[in-house]
């Protein structure tokens, strides 16, 4: 069964304290892994797409990496405005664009 698992479920950091969020997947064929940010009461906002193992993408304090079985979202020196829920999703090769989502990691960054 295709599955996406994110850990931890919740993460509390002090401002400036770097850390990583994990997204592990077991799918029959990967055609893209996506990271989204979601603020309370809003829809997910796209951050990154990764297509193949070894690929990395960066945006400000965020860096996403991909291996054959998992992806990491590294947050360097986070600020309170980075507080949000981070969602990981995979797009399978066997269908027309359906995404399978993990349950998300809720990040809280305290000043």
């Amino acid at each position: 069964e295709d599955q996406v698992t994110q850990s931890p479920e919740a993460l509390r950091l002090q401002e400036g304290e770097s850390s990583s969020l994990n997204c592990s997947y077991t799918v029959s064929g990967l055609r893209g892994l996506f990271w989204y940010r979601q603020d309370p009461g809003k829809g997910p906002e796209f951050l990154f797409t990764l297509y193949s193992a070894g690929e990395e993408k960066e945006k400000e304090r965020l860096k996403a990496t991909l291996t054959k079985k998992e992806s990491f979202l590294h947050i360097t020196a986070p600020k309170p405005e980075d507080s949000a829920t981070y969602l990981c999703a995979v797009r399978l090769s066997s269908n027309t664009g359906k995404l399978i989502f993990g349950q998300g990691t809720t990040l809280q960054v305290k000043p």
Binding site: G41, K42, G43, S93, G97, L99, G104
Partner: protein, 113 residues
């Protein structure tokens, strides 16, 4: 700028009512999706459509139907609303070509009382 617009941010409906949630995208995307999001369960796919008048069931289609009469519009219908359909509903769209990301609307918080 890319835009997916859901007709309502908040809705309160009574048990047994027929409920329509509307979603419009302005990007000429072929694919459109309806998800629901619940605490601890993440986003779950209800239905998706890859072309006008085409639809496919997602993981949790029971109690829902959809309509796609025009490319830009995808409607989710709750035939007879129940309290367990209280949730956040998210619409998304994407191009059919592989590797391209989905864009999400702002969500509709539906409460069934």
């Amino acid at each position: 700028d890319v835009k997916v617009t859901q007709s309502s941010r908040y809705l309160v409906k009574r048990t047994g009512e027929k409920v329509f949630l509307e979603c419009v995208q302005d990007m000429d995307h072929e694919n459109m999706f309806w998800y629901r999001q619940d605490p601890g369960l993440g986003l779950r796919l209800i239905y998706f459509s890859y072309d006008v008048k085409m639809k496919e069931k997602g993981d949790i289609p029971e109690g829902y139907s959809v309509s796609r009469e025009k490319k830009e519009r995808f409607s989710l219908i709750l035939e007879s609303a129940s309290t367990n359909q209280t949730s956040m509903y998210l619409c998304a769209s994407s191009l059919r070509r592989d590797k391209l990301r989905a864009f999400f609307g702002q969500g509709t918080r539906l409460t069934v009382v």
